[in-house]
């Protein structure tokens, strides 16, 4: 995955075997392949939940901006940064690459 990922037309998808458990406003993600358990805060959790392989990053940003209009100005970069971090630890990948 190159440094410019994710682009607006990228389709992030959660790694198979990774599952999220909703707790308070957070999501605990458990990855039984990487033997990893991490806690995502509410905004990262919202991004995680949208990584089902059916949406482009552009569509994710639009959807989140509609849900959280007060944060619209920073959502674009927040989503990209969150996806980069999730990809670094192997929890999401480019959907087209996974197929």
């Amino acid at each position: 995955m190159d440094a410019s990922w994710p682009k607006a037309d990228s389709v992030p998808v959660r790694r198979e075997g990774a599952s999220g458990v909703e707790l308070d406003d957070n999501i605990a993600v458990y990855d039984d392949v990487g033997q990893l358990m991490i806690l995502l805060n509410s905004s990262a959790g919202a991004v995680w939940n949208l990584c089902d392989g059916t949406r482009t990053v552009g569509e994710m940003i639009t959807e989140l901006a509609e849900t959280y209009p007060d944060g619209a100005a920073v959502i674009r970069e927040d989503v990209r940064e969150t996806l980069r971090k999730l990809a670094e630890i192997g929890l999401v990948s480019e959907g087209s690459e996974a197929l």
Binding site: G17, L23, D24, D32, Q35
Partner: protein
């Protein structure tokens, strides 16, 4: 190996979660002592047909337990015993009390190893009016001491070391805590606050631990399988003010994950079960320096809810 009828004493069939076993001795007094100590693990499924129990006056022959410990006089040291598991020598020339401590430790180890279908926690476990209490903590946190104190106060005992959560088959409920009422292991540091629980016959693993029997005739009640309702995370700190503090669902989830023995093999189903457990239970951290005060807080908490 001698035939079962050659043993001076054999226990009933016993069960530690999924580990089924019996214990036979060539010393009647030691055998009777071990049987009494482990009587809370009696396997009710096979009890009536046990061919081993009281072998001297053996009853009807039925299915023996699949595993068997034997303790025999050691040839190498007077008064010492050799321990075999399934006819394999596993310990030799132990003082009888040390052998008993080792036996409890090995049973616990195999209970964990053979009960992987359940989600297992390094935790104490109690039952109050049909509601389960998990007491997960690292060794040295006061887990067994608090568990023992609450059993002394009248709560049902599930375990002081290893609690099994039978996962809900539908994947929607919190599951059930299963009793594994091994003897309560009390470390020397807690002898003072649990002095009235001192066993008549001291056993130990060489460090002088007590193995405290539970169940019939001991005044310490064994609890039944129950849905969990509380998670209490103890931390003994001699300088702390004894107090409960509510844990968030997230804090409870990660605490339970930390003390889950076999989360990994359960995969996503395990973490989802943890999530349901954290969401379903009232979860608290308990810092304590005073056992009676700590037990009072827990009893008040539980009594207010059940």
């Amino acid at each position: 190996m001698p035939d079962v009828h050659d043993w001076a004493h054999c226990s009933a069939n016993l069960r530690a979660l999924s580990y089924r076993f019996a214990v036979c001795c060539d010393d009647a007094a030691l055998g009777a002592h071990i049987s009494a100590l482990l009587s809370s693990l009696r396997d009710s499924d096979t009890d009536a047909e046990n061919p081993h129990e009281d072998a001297v006056d053996a009853g009807p022959v039925g299915e023996p337990a699949p595993h068997r410990y034997t303790l025999t006089a050691s040839a190498g040291r007077a008064g010492a015993v050799d321990v075999r598991r399934d006819d394999q020598l596993v310990e030799s020339a132990l003082a009888p009390g040390v052998a008993v401590g080792w036996l409890v430790w090995d049973i616990n180890r195999l209970a964990a190893e053979l009960s992987g279908q359940h989600l297992l926690f390094h935790s104490g476990g109690l039952e109050a009016s049909g509601v389960g209490i998990l007491v997960p903590a690292a060794s040295g946190s006061g887990k067994s001491t608090l568990t023992a104190g609450l059993v002394r106060a009248g709560l049902g005992y599930l375990s002081d070391e290893l609690v099994a959560l039978e996962l809900d088959a539908t994947g929607s409920g919190p599951g059930r805590l299963l009793p594994y009422p091994k003897p309560i292991t009390v470390k020397p540091g807690s002898f003072g606050v649990l002095a009235d629980m001192a066993p008549d016959v001291p056993d130990g693993d060489g460090d002088g631990e007590w193995q405290v029997p539970v169940g019939d005739g001991t005044g310490r009640r064994v609890g039944g399988a129950c849905e969990p309702g509380f998670v209490i995370v103890p931390r003994y700190d001699p300088s702390a003010e004894t107090a409960l503090a509510r844990l968030s669902e997230t804090e409870a989830f990660f605490t339970l994950a930390l003390h889950a023995v076999n989360l990994l093999p359960h995969g996503p189903a395990g973490s989802e079960a943890l999530g349901r457990l954290a969401a379903h239970c009232a979860c608290y951290a308990l810092a304590f320096s005073d056992l009676d005060a700590a037990c009072g807080l827990v009893l008040g908490l539980v009594g207010a809810r059940v």
